[in-house]
């Protein structure tokens, strides 16, 4: 990814903000889900919208085996299975999206129901 000029960035940001506002109106119920820490040693977050699907978990270990998964349209990302850190992030644009954290082979947390 390249970084554009300040002017390009401002234009892009304004366009995205306008689209974001439209998305908020058009996609009621597809709100970002931000989860609270599950346990003292484990922090996670799952969220998805038209521009990004993201699932992430960090732990000091010993809390189970986790795997993050995210998809935006036809593009999927599986984080590695880990006790410590698993993150899955897909950036782009699509109306279909979701993100999950799997724990020991079953869905543990999800961004959208």
């Amino acid at each position: 990814m390249t970084v554009g000029t300040a002017s390009q960035a401002r234009t892009k940001r304004r366009k995205r903000l306008a689209m974001s506002a439209a998305a908020g109106v058009m996609a009621a119920g597809l709100a970002v889900a931000v989860a609270a820490p599950a346990q003292a040693t484990t922090v996670y977050n799952v969220t998805s919208n038209w521009w990004q699907a993201y699932a992430g978990l960090t732990s000091t270990g010993g809390e189970g085996v986790f795997q993050a998964e995210a998809f935006l349209g036809y593009d999927h990302a599986f984080g590695p299975r880990s006790q410590y850190n698993t993150q899955a992030e897909v950036n782009g644009f699509n109306f279909t999206h979701n993100a999950y954290i799997w724990r020991d082979g079953a869905i543990w947390k999800r961004a959208q129901n």
Partner: protein, 212 residues
């Protein structure tokens, strides 16, 4: 505060508290590290109740040697791959620059049931073969200091690989990685560069940019 900044702050605060607790209670881990050494982390993982026979043999060998050999890691990943294929799933396999092997599903429309079947197969195949070995090998290759702060480990790796300059900070990484509002800018480096992907996936970050 953005979701990204909030999440980064939560992670940092939690790991700080956890690290402090480990130190004050006389735990084995150094403050901010998963374990005092790779051998200690291997030995800690050998205590897992659900460890497979293959993983146990692999980690016992690694404990004696003080490191996991590439050939042993590759053997375990091959076993996992064969198991997944037997279950009917063929993933895209990529060998990263440091020898870590990444498996990803092929691009395409997948139903929730299909994904669920894939994830369950991964869980079964991984836990019956090489889960612990692959988890530790990735740490060995990309996080030699065994930092529990994975953002810092990612920054260290990206600097070493020449992807970012020496002035790139953990705070800058946390600002661009993870949850993103549509109004926020993306990575200030080519996140799909093989060197960047090697650092990031090895440390647990599967980051993709969908074709437009």
């Amino acid at each position: 505060m953005s979701n990204r900044a909030l999440f980064a702050g939560m992670v940092a605060a939690t790991l700080l508290v956890v690290s402090g607790c480990a130190g004050s209670s006389g735990g084995e881990a150094d403050a901010g590290r998963l374990a005092p050494s790779l051998k200690a982390l291997i030995d800690q993982n050998l205590q897992a109740k659900d460890i497979s026979d293959w993983d146990r043999a692999s980690l016992e060998k690694a404990s004696k040697a003080g490191r996991i050999e590439q050939a042993d890691y590759a053997e375990g990943m091959n076993l996992f791959d064969q198991c997944m294929k037997s279950a009917g799933f063929e993933f895209t396999r990529t060998e990263l620059l440091n020898g870590v092997i990444e498996f990803q599903p092929p691009r395409g429309k997948l139903s929730e049931d299909e994904v669920s079947a894939m994830m369950k197969a991964q869980s079964t195949c991984s836990s019956s073969t090489n889960f612990y070995t692959q988890d530790l090998f990735r740490m060995q290759q990309a996080n030699p200091d065994l930092l529990s702060d994975f953002s810092q480990a990612a920054v260290n790796c990206l600097k070493k690989a020449g992807i970012v300059g020496d002035d790139f900070t953990k705070e800058e990484f946390e600002k661009v990685s993870g949850p993103r509002d549509s109004s926020e800018d993306g990575y200030p480096f080519d996140v799909m560069d093989p060197k960047a992907q090697t650092c990031l996936y090895s440390l647990g970050y599967a980051i993709k940019v969908a074709p437009q």
